[in-house]
Amino acid sequence: MNYFRKYYYGDYGDKEAPTGGDTGKAAANEWPLWEVFIRSKQGLDHKHVGSLHAADAQMAVENARDVYTRRMEGVSIWVVESKYIHASNPDEAESFYEPAEDKVYRHPTFYDLPDEVNHM
């Protein structure tokens, strides 16, 4: 039996335990993970900047303010609990993305633009 669990700084319990056994009790008490999106002053869209732990949405926004906007990175914050994000499966990358590789005609480069049209 391993009665002692070694804790390291930043060790939240939902990550792999560094040494020894994890009873799973710690993980149940931990705060959920949130993904953070920040819109910068010049930017038009929110960009993913990282993740953090928080007990609820309000705390997540405040934590994001403290962790990710210390150097004036943003003017708007979105947070979403990580469990609500659905991702494509890396194993399916071949069928997902490769079929597009040989279809250059999908790029809008096969016609001439009039000179008067800017910002295209």
Binding site: Y9, H53, Q58, E62, N63, D66, V67, R70
Partner: protein, 272 residues
Amino acid sequence: MNKELFIYTLHLADNALILAQRNSEWTGHGPVLEQDIAITNIALDLLGQARNYYQHAAALYNSLSDHDKNSLEGSLPRPWKSFHRELQEDDLAFLRDEHQYRNLLLTELPKGDWAFTVLRQFFFSAFQHLFYQELLQSSDPQLAAIAEKSSKEVAYHLRWSSEWVVRLGDGTEESHRRMQEALADLWMFTGEFFTAAGYEQAAATEGFGVDVLLLREAWLKKVEAVFAEATLEPPKQSWSQSGGKSGQHTEHLGYLLAEMQYLQRVYPNTTW
């Protein structure tokens, strides 16, 4: 007038510096990474405020007449006198002795547990928030400017600490118990906010400072509102501890200064 303004500015600087130093003890030791950064940000905000005040105080002193300078002898850092140069912000922060510090006792108490830290911060930020609204009207343009810059920071400190008081007070059995204990330990140090020292009375009369007594009611109201949500009750006890504003400190300040001032004491005028 500049003599009193100098002392008053030092008092405001000391409050900010000592609490910044206490909060910075959490750096690398916060309960979780996110809160470690949050409390460190607050410490840095307070350190920035302290710097503004110390710079202002040093400039004030350097512009005084010789007669006024002599009368402030007891408030000046002794080692600085052998430097034979003008007074600078670092001299005031790193070379004054314990009894020359005029910070509130509340700011120098050891950091305790997380409940103690957030409750102290809440009491202090609730006070500072009201204080800066008034200091905006200061007849001293520099103090008014510092108040304007700082009040945005303090609004966030207040929001952040209020929320933690509610979270822990109205949280688990253990967190509620810890908040109660912190409250029992801290309450008697909150009266000093509103007990004006001589230089504060002069500051209020002259118009460059704030009459702290007038802030008491609004402060209590804010505390009661947050406590109601946090299921905490303000203690009935009315006796309060004071002395920090006039240089009589708890035994904790000496240890704090010993650590904070070590480098400048051992290697005078050293720089990074």
